[in-house]
């Protein structure tokens, strides 16, 4: 198009220039003009002369000549006139033309006259002035023309240059247009050509670029010739997918490497694309790596080329290895799962936190509130909507003064991004009661550090403040209590030291007495304070053993009897039931003597103090009753508190520290018992405390009841020793010196076990045994033989519960007896090693419902002591124990022949590690974690385990 325009423009320009040239050329072409002028002059002269001659001669030849000339004259004249008119030389032809027409008419007349023979008239006509004038006029024209021509010839150079100037000017004028148009045209042409070239070159370049890119890229590039189904792969196939270079291969090689599950989909998708006139294709599939084992996740994208007929010819594409991306994606997914889990965990953690945690937005509205906060404030998320948290819980200060939000320390966190901590403040619950809190508010910022809110954590300090108050009070009281005897000591000694007593030895002695007695008081006080602190903080380890309540009672009375006698108070034994307790005997005696001491102090002379031990459902209740002045009802609650004597002067009069009862109660509580007091003013007081029963009961015995035993031996010394020993172990002991006495005893005293000396003179052991076993009423009583001969040397005709050799080994005897007692019922027995008394009790009770017996040890050392006496069917073991931990217990148990295969359940607070588990395994061992296995579930599992176990045992027994 541009080219066409350019061509047209060129034509126009050419025409213009040509026209101009021609224009100037005509003016300048003087030759033609002068030729025409000469011709005209010549013709004019010919006409004139031929007309004259004809007129004179009337010769027709001249007429013809005239006509010929006239014929030639007319067009030449016309031509000249045209030329003159066109060249605008300023030469008028009008006059010449008129003169021509006049002379021609006159000549034609003359010729006619001459033809008529009137030559004279004809000649005369042509000789007239008019004719001459006319001819001259016409002739003037040619001379003008000639002159002009001459002038032109003279100015020829100038004219030429003007022509040239005009031409050049025109050319110059046209040139830019010309240039622009042609430039444009050429550009258009160039563009066309370039486009064509570029198309060609781009194909060339793209091929080149393709090959460079193919080499440079990490992606696997392929080029599939559909005509012959060959495909070329770049080097990335090698570097990325681990193939040795393929170069040009058949497409099947590629298809074969696609995962069998994916190959069909891949092929189908290509076919679909081709069939649907598509151009681009993309597909994810798994592609075998060069190692022939692993698959890479590939994103393959291809571009289809078709020929002019639309027939597919070539397909080029790139395989992108997505394996890492996929893995990252999977990881991200996993991370998200983790995050979600973490979110849930965080929520759990937040909800498990004991502190209240509240999330606040910038307006101070709560966006989150954890369980503790909700409970403390008696709020739920629903109560929070829309309201500022401050208005809900923090609106009023402690003494009723309004607390505006602007003054709230939380504002600092929200407005200034500063953390604030307030140790002493109050929050208001929903029911408009308040409580003391300590809280801190931490600003929350997002990743870019912009303040987005705050987190407030708080806790109820009511209890802490109370504890603090009590502590302050205690310190104050202790300070006072210590200073009081010190005042006397300091005063008395000061007087002596100052020599002020020198004059009065009696007063001096008195001062010394005061100093000494107050020093004693001070020592007692300090001991008691330390004692109570040690017991309360658990630093005093009770050395528990199995002891008989009655024994402890008797021992205490023995200690206090001299004091009672001195005070004239009678110590009286009330009901004393034999019962076994697992207790620290010294501490129980300390408690009893303390109570007795108090009772004696407050008893009027001549009155009695009664002491008793009564068997209760789950232990033994000790009672100390006096008939003193009693305790006022309002003091009953505080009588066990520190330094809370009913009358402060008591401590002086009665020599107490004011801590005795507090210590007593602490000791009892350490044993898992409780202490109470009942009192009527004027009648007396009764202090009671309970100590839980030892949990090593054998079958058939009531909990807490002592196992009954009859010791049958002819040796009175041995009988006495055995009685004392067994009594010490909590047995209810009867003795018999021979078989006859034993049999007499039995109807009134049914023992749980009989210890029988087999070699006795009167009645003989064997005979006695035979009588026992043959009597249905006594046949079931387990009998343990006491003998100087080893069991395997004897053929025992009866089913014996045990055999103990003389000389006696205490431990063996007790173990055998326990074993014998256990045999009676064959109920499964579980030993619980657990330092948490509450938990132990819960477990004990839950197993009692299943008819399972339990025994309990609170420390590792106790567990070992207990395991020596009792062989449990199952051991429940806590790992963290005082004295010796669970690992130590297991280590010991593993060395015991009887115990190394005992099934065990490790019920610990934390999960033991694998190596710890190996260290812990005894018999069949299960590991249960306290936090994850709730008590009911724990109970079920242990019962199941026990059931499986006893079944197995029975089966074994049957097979045997």
């Amino acid at each position: 198009m541009a080219l066409l325009a350019a061509v047209m423009l060129t034509a126009v320009a050419a025409w213009t220039i040509t026209s101009l040239y021609h224009h100037y050329s005509d003016v300048i072409d003087l030759a033609k003009l002068s030729e025409l002028s000469a011709n005209i002059t010549h013709l004019d002269e010919t006409l004139t002369s031929s007309a004259r001659v004809a007129a004179l001669s009337n010769d027709p030849e001249w007429d013809r000549k005239y006509d010929e000339a006239a014929k030639e004259f007319a067009p030449t004249w016309e031509q000249l006139k045209r030329e003159l008119a066109r060249n605008e030389l300023g030469i008028r032809t009008g006059a010449a033309d008129q003169a021509d027409r006049e002379t021609t008419r006159m000549e034609r007349e003359a010729l006619a006259l001459a033809g008529d023979g009137n030559t004279a008239a004809a000649t005369a006509l042509l000789s007239t002035d008019r004719y001459r004038e006319m001819k001259a006029t016409f002739g003037q024209l040619t001379s003008v023309i000639n002159q002009v021509v001459r002038e032109h010839i003279e100015n020829g150079r100038e004219r030429t240059s003007r022509r040239n100037a005009i031409l050049i000017g025109t050319c110059l004028l046209l040139l830019p247009l010309f240039v622009i148009s042609w430039a444009y045209a050429l550009m258009a042409l160039h563009c066309y050509i370039e486009a064509r070239d570029r198309a060609e070159q781009s194909v060339r370049e793209s091929d080149e670029r393709f090959s460079i890119a193919s080499r440079a890229t990490n992606d696997v590039i392929w080029d599939w010739n559909l005509a012959d189904n060959t495909v070329w792969f770049n080097e990335a196939l090698q570097t990325n997918l681990g193939y040795s270079s393929w170069g040009m291969v058949n497409i099947t090689r590629w298809a074969d490497a696609i995962h069998p599950e994916d190959v069909r989909g891949v092929m189908d998708s290509i076919r679909t694309m081709v069939d649907s006139d598509g151009q681009s294709w993309a597909r994810e599939y798994r592609f075998l790596r060069g190692d022939g084992k692993n698959y890479a996740y590939i994103l393959d994208r291809g571009f289809l080329m078709r020929d002019a007929d639309g027939k597919p010819t070539r397909m080029i594409g790139a395989m992108l290895d997505l394996t890492d991306a996929k893995r990252a994606e999977a990881e991200l997914r996993e991370v998200n799962v983790q995050l979600e889990r973490l979110g849930r965990k965080n929520e759990l953690i937040l909800n498990a936190a004991a502190d209240g945690i509240v999330g606040l937005d910038l307006d101070g509205r709560a966006t989150f509130i954890n369980r503790a906060a909700a409970e403390m404030l008696r709020l739920s998320m629903n109560n929070l909507r829309g309201q500022r948290f401050h208005e809900l819980i923090h609106h009023t200060r402690e003494y009723g003064k309004a607390h505006p939000f602007e003054e709230c320390p939380n504002m600092r966190a929200l407005r200034d991004g500063e953390m604030s901590r307030v140790p002493n403040d109050i929050f208001w619950r929903r029911d408009q009661t308040s409580f003391a809190v300590e809280y801190s508010t931490t600003p929350m910022r997002n990743e870019s550090g912009q303040l987005v809110g705050a987190v407030m954590t708080f806790h109820d300090t009511t209890e802490r403040l109370e504890v603090q108050r009590m502590k302050d009070e205690f310190v104050s009281i202790v300070s006072h209590e210590l200073r009081t005897p010190l005042t006397s000591i300091r005063g008395a000694l000061g007087l002596l030291a100052g020599g002020l007593m020198a004059s009065s030895p009696v007063k001096g002695q008195r001062m010394l007495d005061i100093a000494v007695s107050n020093t004693d008081r001070l020592v007692r006080l300090i001991n008691d304070i330390l004692d109570i602190e040690r017991i309360d903080s658990g630093k005093v380890v009770l050395t528990k053993s199995i002891c008989n309540a009655a024994t402890l009672l008797r021992d205490s009375i023995d200690v206090m009897r001299p004091i009672a006698d001195k005070a004239g108070v009678l110590l009286e034994l009330g009901r004393v039931e034999s019962a076994t307790i697992n207790a620290d005997a010294d501490r129980v005696i300390q408690t009893l003597t303390n109570l007795l001491s108090n009772a004696i102090k407050f008893s009027p002379s001549g009155s009695a103090v009664t002491i008793s031990a009564i068997h209760e459902r789950d232990g033994v209740a000790f009672r100390v009753k006096d008939r003193g002045r009693g305790i006022p009802a309002d003091k009953l609650d505080s009588v066990f508190d520190r330094f809370q004597q009913v009358d402060a002067s008591d401590s002086r009069e009665k020599g107490g520290s004011g801590l005795g009862l507090t210590i007593c109660r602490s000791i009892v509580r350490e044993h898992g018992g409780e202490m109470h007091v009942e009192s009527v003013v004027g009648e007396g007081s009764e202090f009671r405390f309970s100590i839980p029963a030892a949990l090593l009961e054998a079958s058939g015995r009531k909990p807490g009841a002592a196992p009954r035993i009859v010791v049958c031996d002819d040796d009175p010394n041995l009988r006495e020793v055995l009685e004392a020993m067994l009594d010490g172990y909590g047995y209810d002991v009867r003795t018999a010196e021979g078989g006859d006495e034993l049999l007499r005893l039995l109807p009134s005293f049914t023992p749980d076990v009989i210890l029988l000396d087999i070699f006795m003179p009167a009645g003989g052991g064997w005979e006695t045994l035979s009588r026992l076993k043959n009597n249905p009423e006594t046949a079931e009583i387990p009998v343990v033989i006491l003998s100087g001969i080893k069991a395997d040397e004897m053929a025992a005709p009866f089913d014996l519960a045990g055999w103990v050799n003389k000389p006696l080994d205490e431990r063996t005897l007790i173990a055998t007896l326990e074993h014998a007692l256990g045999l009676a019922g064959r109920r499964p027995r579980i030993m619980i090693v657990e330092d948490d008394f509450d938990l132990a009790r819960v477990i004990t009770e839950s197993f009692a419902r299943h008819g399972i017996e339990t025994c309990h040890a609170a420390t590792g050392r106790e567990a070992i002591a207990l395991a020596r006496e009792v062989t449990p069917d199952l051991l429940i073991l806590d790992l963290v124990l005082p004295e010796l931990d669970g690992f130590g217990v297991v280590e010991w148990l593993r060395e015991q022949e009887k115990l190394c295969k005992v099934p065990m359940v490790v019920y610990s607070a934390t999960d033991p590690t694998t190596s710890e588990r190996q260290r812990l395994t005894l018999g069949p061992t299960q590991f249960l974690t306290k936090s994850r296995v709730p008590p009911q579930e724990f109970e079920r599992r242990v019962v199941d385990l026990l059931a499986t176990m006893t079944r197995t045992q029975k089966e074994i027994a049957h097979v045997a």
């Binding site: 005042t487 300091r490 001062m511 002067s649």
Partner: protein, 123 residues
């Protein structure tokens, strides 16, 4: 000039005894009472020149006794000195606000107690 008479009110027998001997040696005439109530009765009856008053006592403690002494016409003007084992600053501030002439700490130095009392009372 007859010796100044001082009433000691303290529930601790030994302290009462030591203090009494101390002040007697120091040249005072000493009266004693083992409870607040007895102290007030004694003060009203005997009109001592000063009262040395223990703080921690059962039933009627030092401050209560002091308040009652201030209630009665007969005892209102007798100067009172607290003699106390409560030596923590908070306790002292609390006692100080009651209006006693002085507060003296237990344990006391028997060799200076009499002169301290005289100094406190401007004798």
């Amino acid at each position: 000039m007859s010796p100044k008479r001082i009433l000691i009110i303290d529930d601790e027998d030994d302290i009462r005894e030591v203090a009494a001997i101390t002040l007697e040696i120091g040249g005072f005439e000493v009266l004693t009472a083992s409870t607040g109530r007895k102290g007030i009765e004694c003060a009203a009856a005997e009109q001592p020149d000063a009262i040395l008053l223990d703080v921690m006592m059962p039933e009627l403690d030092g401050p209560a006794t002091f308040a009652m002494l201030r209630q009665f016409q007969a005892t209102r003007d007798i100067p009172v000195i607290f003699l106390t084992a409560k030596v923590q600053s908070a306790d002292r501030r609390c006692l100080g606000s009651l209006g006693a002439r002085a507060i003296m700490a237990k344990p006391f130095d028997p060799n200076s107690l009499a002169s301290d009392i005289s100094a406190a009372l401007g004798w």
